[in-house]
Subunit: 199 residues, 2 copies
């Protein structure tokens, strides 16, 4: 033990739960939700299953907490930078989304699948995240430089989000000769083109 | 009974099964897959549940047969006309898709949900239909007037299909002031614009 080692302190239950959620989210990156079991988390955390049930209730509650945390991370990590040209800010946000999907492919694609398949709680978390991501486009672009804020444009931005998700998940499995830069360029350019169609 | 009534003939088992599938598909238009039960079909067809199990095996087999038939209908009904300008043919195909979704909203949206949620058989049927619909764009447009046939363009057409599905399902629930003609115009114009981004 060296002088720089932090003193070992007893974590509060809330801190311990947060730490376990961090671990759950990091395990989910390379696993599907189905593979992310209480047993696996217990083994990785070196604590008993009983204690995990104490923190998370049921397996369903555990998955809900992990997914809530994962989509919060996604929304946070893909926030556009505060300043800059609208198209550059959109590009930065799209780049962060692509990198997130690549880094968390197994978990992210299983969340999308579970949400679309009618697990109501996960669907709500997913819809909230989708709404946060698309509403942010109108907040980040308050002057309407890229997209005028009309009901038709909001409909089109939903379509663009579906296109982006499909393209990025497909590209992450098989890039088909498309480079990351080409993908980012196409997704970024697509939004104002599509929004113009909704005018 | 009048002279124009067709003589009552005994249907072959294959004809009877086809007739029951027709009824199943028409019931599905305004119902979700979950609501389309063997009991309902038996009642509507005026035959016993036992006989239906004879024709379709399990409820799962029944749903598979109905979905197979429904997606075949979708692919057939949205076939582009044989002649005409590429963009007009695309518009006709998109219009048929929008009208199909509106006329079969409950059943179609429940098929999409079941397929995306990981029912493997339904997912395969749905993926096959999606592939048939998107591959057809390259067959119908063999000269590449709208979309050059490259791996990047095939990726982009998948994205356009996801965008179209999301937009049409959302619009069918709430048009948000967007007319059918505006929707058709935007979806049709979007394909060559998006494909250009993949060049």
């Amino acid at each position: 033990m060296t002088a720089t080692t932090a003193p070992r302190t007893r974590l509060s239950p809330a801190q311990r739960r947060t730490q376990l959620l961090d671990l759950g989210v990091s395990l989910l990156a390379t696993r599907s939700l189905d593979q992310l079991t209480i047993d696996l988390l217990a083994e990785e955390a070196g604590i008993s299953r009983g204690l995990l049930y104490h923190y998370f209730g049921t397996k369903h509650d555990f998955h809900e907490a992990v997914v809530r945390r994962a989509v919060d991370d996604l929304v946070e990590q893909t926030a556009p930078p505060a300043g800059g040209e609208p198209l550059d800010r959109l590009l930065a946000s799209v780049a962060a989304y692509v990198d997130y999907v690549v880094a968390n492919y197994e978990g992210y694609s299983s969340i999308v699948k579970a949400a679309q398949g009618g697990n109501d709680t996960l669907r709500q978390l997913y819809d909230d995240a989708r709404t946060a991501l698309t509403d942010r486009i109108f907040t980040a672009d308050a002057q309407g430089d890229l997209v005028a804020d009309t009901p038709a444009a909001r409909l089109m931005v939903r379509g663009w989000a579906a296109l982006s998700e499909e393209l990025v998940l497909t590209w992450a499995r098989d890039p088909a000769g498309v480079s990351r830069e080409e993908l980012l360029g196409a997704l970024t350019a697509a939004l104002p083109l599509l929004a113009d169609l909704a005018r």
